[in-house]
Symmetry: C2
């Protein structure tokens, strides 16, 4: 695209860039329309359009009389929905805990190498955790992460901060792809989820991009009898105006 972007788009890019770089953190104040008029030499209507669209897209929250503020990741349902399993459980009023089974450096092969777009044998981090809701196993998280993306991955305490929360902090998610399946688990999975041989698993296989390339690949196994995936959709035109709170895809986390 050689054509110059319109001015309002340049303003949007400018602010998204500052947010992505962590220069502006959630709930920080974003330059007001009049400040943008001065600093960027645009008319107020142009600044208004930029901030208004960023608001519609979920990047910022605007309050008449107060100002414009960087939206909390949590409320950014347009960006990849960032619920980690811990939040999800706590929102239900239950207690979350997790146990790290494996946290190691490992050579990617087969499916993993392919999913992460790396050569067979490339070193990646491997995490294996079991998440519990009120002491009952609810998810096995089997995750591979690009070493270049999160170099300090081995030093993290993932029983204190979930991988999802950690990875979100390392860099903003930009794209996600997931597959949901129903399947019978192997014995090792059954044992960790404490389910019997007749119970299926809801399996989510998720790949997440940042900076244009896949950075993490996760397989999440859930006991079929204790977990379900819910989604709720409302089109922008209708209830956006009415309720103001649109949830696009619940429980899609990193």
């Amino acid at each position: 695209m050689i054509a110059v972007k319109p001015r309002y788009q340049q303003l949007k890019d400018l602010i998204i860039e500052r947010i992505s770089r962590g220069e502006l953190l959630p709930s920080d104040r974003v330059p007001s329309e009049n400040e943008l008029v001065e600093s960027e030499k645009v008319s107020r209507m142009t600044a208004n359009r930029a901030l208004r669209e960023l608001n519609n897209e979920g990047y910022v929250e605007r309050v008449a009389g107060r100002g414009t503020f960087v939206a909390d990741y949590r409320s950014r349902s347009h960006l990849v929905e960032v619920h980690n399993i811990a939040d999800e459980i706590e929102r239900r009023g239950h207690t979350h805990s997790s146990q790290v089974v494996r946290q190691s450096r490992q050579r990617a092969r087969g499916e993993v190498a392919k999913a992460l777009h790396v050569e067979q044998g490339t070193e990646v981090f491997h995490l294996l955790l079991v998440h519990y809701e009120n002491g009952t196993p609810i998810q096995i998280e089997d995750r591979h992460v690009l070493t270049s993306f999160a170099p300090d991955c081995l030093a993290q305490d993932f029983e204190a901060v979930t991988p999802s929360a950690y990875l979100t902090g390392v860099a903003p998610l930009q794209e996600a792809e997931q597959v949901v399946r129903a399947s019978m688990p192997i014995a090792a999975v059954r044992q960790r989820l404490q389910i019997d041989a007749s119970e299926p698993c809801l399996v989510i296989i998720r790949r997440t991009w940042s900076g244009g390339r896949p950075v993490t690949f996760a397989r999440l196994h859930h006991p079929g009898s204790r977990y379900e995936l819910t989604g709720h959709y409302t089109p922008p035109g209708t209830s956006r105006a009415a309720s103001g709170d649109v949830v696009r895809l619940e429980k899609l986390s990193q």
Copy 2:
């Protein structure tokens, strides 16, 4: 909400209303900005904002130099993603067929009445179909529809036109809610899907609204070994501008 809506929102509502009523059909021309200036006594910028937002929300397509046109339902990935199973299968280059097992009037009770917000015992339509991909069963569609929503439901040939396609034609979808589960099916389901007792099902339970109230409630059973749900998400700020084609939730159909 007693407060009057802003003028640009009134214009949007006006046009959405015309589309919903079928007065404006896909690819029909929508009044131009200047026509709205005259007929609605607004400034061009206000008309511009209304049409621009309708464009962003997927209701219309705009072409500089030509005009504004009602978008094809199919391309409205913002509204509830309207893939019916037949399209999905044909896109894979396979052939779709279906068999109607039951198509009747029935009294709603229990879960169905609750889901559709009607009294126990209210008459609703009940559809039970099996969908096949290349002759192999891929989905059992167990659907209940409000009689007031689709009065001619019993007269339809659902082996020719899928319920999803029919219902989309009757009125536009406005809201959808779904739950995805993995579970072991009962014998009747196993038999219809031609699977053995050790195979789980991916079950989608979906409720769809139109005009502010639930109009259809569907339970979709898929063989776990032959079906998976895929989703791909790209945030608006990033690839919207880049690719221009954002798919929000694949395979979510009515």
